[in-house]
């Protein structure tokens, strides 16, 4: 094994530019793959946030019957499709309004609590349950109207909002995975071509090894190890560049998305996520390297 590693290092030293080309192509693939992995993670978090953030606001009539409100509240609390139920009084509604218009205090001064309706706010556990819940709540006598906070790209109906959210997630997941797969295919081809070129230049050496009784495994091991080396360096290079880009743009991303936790909240968790991505990429990279080199060896053997 020691000799196999030594041979691998010799092979790498012999054609450094081929090695560099293979590493950079792998690096580009895994740079994009790392960014796509983060995008998939973040889109999942975004969807989860939208699904669990208070989305339904039930505005109550101006002079409601306290008992009726209490009954509605307990009915909603017992509904297992609903979570995070909260009652917002007229005074609290005014405070929210004042906070929202703090850049123009005059607007806050002109209104009194009486013009704001009290409301019940809650989230749904599954976004697709929203429409039936709203329809049910609308029938309650104390309910004036029901609002839905999620709104993407000006969709008019709730069904459209749900559909749109799902589509975005699918685009990110399927599109991203498809693009990463395409790049992985290119890496695989480049690795196969580089290894084939190497085998061609080592034809005589392989012939000599076969004559002195080298087994297939003895001959293949340094070649496969060389391919794995490209993959490992490529994965690490791509991952490092993606991490640098992510760390550089994190403040902007966090400001843009505000309180939506699209990235882990602390550094340890963030690096935990990046570590998992690196591990996954190393596994994929090594599989690509092994397959690529074995196919190149197979093709070279068939030609001999």
């Amino acid at each position: 094994m020691n000799l196999a590693f030594k041979t691998t290092i010799n092979y790498l030293k012999r054609s450094p530019f081929q090695a560099l080309a293979a590493i950079l192509v792998m690096g580009l693939t895994f740079f994009v793959a790392t960014l796509i992995s983060i995008a998939i993670y973040s889109s999942g978090k975004l969807l989860n946030y939208l699904e669990t953030t208070p989305q339904v606001i039930v505005f109550l009539k101006n002079d409601p019957n306290e008992n009726a409100i209490s009954n509605l509240r307990s009915a909603l609390e017992n509904d297992n499709r609903i979570k995070d139920l909260r009652f917002v009084s007229k005074e609290e509604a005014l405070n929210i309004y004042k906070k929202a218009t703090s850049d123009n205090p005059l607007l806050g001064e002109l209104v009194s609590p009486s013009i704001f309706p009290a409301s019940l706010e809650f989230s749904v556990k599954n976004l697709s349950d929203t429409l039936p819940i709203i329809e049910e709540v609308k029938k309650e006598p104390v309910v004036e109207s029901v609002g839905f906070t999620a709104n993407l790209s000006g969709e008019k109906s709730l069904g459209e909002v749900i559909q749109r959210l799902k589509e975005i997630t699918v685009y990110i997941r399927v599109g991203g995975a498809g693009f990463a797969l395409f790049l992985a295919g290119i890496s695989f081809l480049v690795l196969t071509v580089v290894i084939s070129m190497r085998l061609n230049s080592r034809k005589e050496e392989i012939e000599i090894l076969e004559l002195i009784g080298a087994t297939g495994a003895f001959i293949k091991t340094p070649i496969v190890l060389e391919s794995i080396t490209y993959a490992i360096f490529g994965v690490i290079t791509g991952w490092i560049f993606a991490v640098i880009l992510l760390l550089y743009s994190t403040p902007t991303i966090l400001i843009y998305f505000g309180k939506i936790p699209i990235l882990p909240s602390n550094a340890l968790a963030l690096f935990g996520l990046l570590g998992i991505i690196l591990l996954g990429e190393l596994i994929v990279g090594i599989i690509i390297a092994i397959l690529g080199s074995l196919i190149a060896i197979g093709r070279a053997s068939a030609r001999r």
Binding site: R14, I208, E210, A214
Partner: protein, 226 residues
């Protein structure tokens, strides 16, 4: 000294398409023997060595190496059979980007010899072939004679049952060629069977050993046949 046959050819023929390389070759070589295989170019010497190495299979007949029928050997078994055969070629077949010592190390690794034993074995074989002081030299820094000595050292390091030498003196001047043949005889004295293919009659006449003569793929004489 002789302990039964190590190589047996039983009415072996080998054709490459319509060309018949050898025809009805029948002989056996005992362990510890030194045999010259001679004949003009194209007589079939290299084909016989290739058949022993398992590089090619006979069209008809059987080739036995150390009791094993090579025609029946699976492709996976061939490397293990070759690990018992030392090979020396006219064009040396030395790994160009490794030093003399590393060339022997590779052969030892191929045979699975423990690394602890490498140093001792390398020292012994380099001394045996007389290039101890050239162990760290690369092939490009060695003369033709030294390269052939290295090739011999690599073959002997594996402690083979047999050494096949295919025109080992073909690329060498007379003096160097003689020293290589003497070296092969020295190795033979250590108990290793040698089959040397050569068309150099002067060497054959000088060394006086069993000689198998081939002509147009046929065995025309065998001085060892009783």
């Amino acid at each position: 000294m002789h302990q039964g046959p190590i190589v047996v050819f039983k009415f072996v023929s080998k054709s490459y398409g319509v060309i018949k390389a050898i025809s009805d070759i029948d002989f056996s070589i005992n362990k510890g023997e030194f045999v010259y295989l001679t004949g003009a170019s194209g007589a079939g010497k290299t084909t016989i060595l290739k058949l022993i190495l398992g590089e090619t299979k006979p069209t008809t007949g059987h080739v036995f190496f150390d009791g094993q029928d090579l025609a029946l050997a699976k492709a996976k078994e061939i490397p293990f059979i070759r690990q018992n055969i030392g090979v020396v070629f006219q064009d040396f077949k030395i790994l160009g980007e490794r030093t003399a010592k590393e060339n022997i190390e590779v052969a030892l690794a191929v045979k699975g010899v423990k690394e602890l034993e490498w140093s001792e074995r390398i020292k012994h074989v380099l001394k045996l072939v007389g290039i101890s002081r050239r162990s760290t030299a690369f092939p490009a820094q060695l003369s033709g004679g030294e390269l052939q000595r290295l090739s011999l050292a690599r073959a002997v390091a594996l402690a083979p049952k047999i050494v096949l030498a295919d025109e080992p003196t073909g690329n060498l001047d007379w003096e160097t060629a003689t020293s290589i043949v003497e070296l092969l005889h020295k190795i033979n004295k250590e108990g290793i069977t040698i089959i040397m293919a050569t068309h150099n009659r002067v060497i054959i006449d000088k060394m006086k050993r069993r000689t198998i003569v081939l002509k147009d793929g046929k065995l025309v004489s065998d001085s060892g046949k009783k």
